[in-house]
Symmetry: C3
Subunit: 256 residues, 3 copies
């Protein structure tokens, strides 16, 4: 257990609330994202047509927008999803994958961060790029340390009103005034595709929980780090790490 965060209470609340999370996410991580949410007791749904995205975002408990494999056509559907979310008071979360140098996603992210996201989760390079201070990382990987992105994260939080989450070896969760720190996890999480994207879906789900949102999101980050640490100890390589990570998320907090 992490000594610095009340994570098990978050987990219990999470399982009790079972948030319905509308994930508009990239092509690479759909299955893993759905299974991570299911393992934690949430209910995922991926709805992509513009009309349906708007309808569903109004029903869902939270909406995730992830631009990893963004196309022009999807920007329209995502805008419609945000329309539905804002009209219904559904919190929505941005994962600005690879933002910085790539043109379509950079323009799109700059546009939608003015639409009152509840949270933004990215790696250090993405958060720095989103504030316009750099051109991003190497492909979808960060080339900056989380600590170096903390000032950018705080600025972005104050600018957008969102809780900003910078993840990496250490996770920082900030609303610009308060900052929580989450440690632990395993370097293997950076070697498995989709762990960051799935965490963004967990962050979205945490935005639907009752209580303090900053603490709930930090609790969500802590659940993932704990699962990652468990999985690193119960695996032989990348394949069994992925299996053990889902195992950990599904058995976590249950009586042994």
């Amino acid at each position: 257990m992490q000594p610095d965060l009340p994570d098990l209470p978050t987990l219990q609340t999470f399982r009790q609330c079972s948030p319905l999370v509308h994930c508009m996410t990239n092509d690479v991580v759909q299955t893993f994202t759905a299974n991570v949410l299911l393992a934690l007791g949430a209910s995922p749904a991926m709805i992509t047509a513009p009309d349906e995205a708007q309808q569903f975002a109004a029903i869902a408990d939270a909406l995730l927008i992830n631009v990893g494999t963004l196309t022009l056509r999807q920007t329209e559907a995502m805008q419609r999803g945000i329309d539905g979310a804002l009209a219904a008071g559904t919190p929505w979360v941005l994962d600005p994958v690879g933002v910085g140098m790539l043109s379509l996603r950079s323009a799109f992210c700059q546009q939608i961060i003015s639409r009152k996201p509840a949270a933004i989760r990215g790696n250090a390079s993405e958060i720095i790029a989103l504030t316009g201070l750099s051109h991003g990382g190497r492909g979808v990987d960060s080339t900056d340390s989380p600590a170096s992105a903390l000032p950018a994260a705080q600025q972005l939080a104050l600018q957008t009103g969102a809780i900003v989450v910078v993840t990496g070896e250490v996770d920082y969760v900030t609303d610009g005034a308060r900052t929580l720190t989450v440690t632990g996890g395993s370097v293997l999480m950076t070697k498995l595709v989709g762990t960051g994207c799935a965490l963004s879906a967990v962050v979205a789900a945490c935005c639907a929980l009752p209580g303090d949102r900053l603490e709930n999101i930090a609790g969500g980050c802590s659940m993932m780090k704990q699962a990652g640490a468990y999985a690193a100890q119960h695996s032989r390589g990348l394949g069994s790490f992925a299996v053990a990570l889902l195992d950990a998320l599904s058995i976590m907090g249950e009586p042994a």
Copy 2:
């Protein structure tokens, strides 16, 4: 083994025939669907462009239409796929994921159920919604019991000429006159994304087998339930459950 169904004969026929199944399915379950079919000895192919979908449906032994992440563009390709299937006598199967409240898929499903599907497989809420009696479940999850959907399933079978499969704790397979019941399985199957969607692909493959179609489909449902029960006994959580499920499907019926 299920005492009420001749499942192993279905499995042997399945492996011998090795149906070529054209899957037009949603973005979330493509990999898992393909591996479930491969584990059972079938040959999956996912072909999505309109022209190619029509060409391939004429070659395939069965076609699956799953509307889980439907877009307007895909409705055209799916119609072309059904054109090819009907012209060639290829059986096609509908999985009406999330039908009910969401507009595009609801209108599309209502339209294509008049095009002589060989089978329709859904959860209870989807089958009830397809008959126009309700507005569907919670996201893509059912809020009704399979038994409560049996009258709707029988009505839908008589209306469309399809064999209708309602799956859940108990599976019902009906042509409107005869109804077979499949029990067993594990509640963990509802916690892993894609088990229902993959079952629909298995149902499609079963429509290509020689013999009684109703019994073959019930045999397909039984294979999945048996694999689920095996996997529940050989896993620690959601990740190892998914692994054990594919293991079970691939070793099932082979000499120990």
Copy 3:
């Protein structure tokens, strides 16, 4: 270890160079492809919008074009990706999945093989179909033996300037003049979706390594075959085979 190929040197170079591989690949294999590359130490990114594809191909160390679930819209993005790759000197690799009878991909593959691919990897039926000598296999599966496709592979290599890789029970890697042979592996690799597609991504990564390209690609094929043989020995069925394959790729070449 394969006695006929210097594979461990390739692996060490691979891990040291950590190629950034831009994968424009089909919907079914995205996650597995990314994890195979990550397991070997490469860095995958899937970028799909036309403008971004062109931008990213110029930054990446290699580009993969896989036509498994090709749509008309994607052909434009892929052409733009190839534009970016050629302008920047980034090697690009074609995986002509299911080429032959299906119209869109067949015309597209015929068009782009004139655009100086660094390598082409396919199964025997695909390589034969690409030379116009047949109409392809059964769905996405080969109905020809790798050896029977060797003359077509050599002809295709001379015609396009690409290194052509025919994979199956035996892999042949040829530039038209020299041909390397890679043996080993396991028949289970044909039962898991995406092994061939992921190998094409590895081949693309190998095109970015220093040294002899023909030997590097053969080394990449050998790494996959060794991982497959390991996985066959450490698994009970299809699910655990997939897990063990990723485990093998990630621990291969590391001190025990």
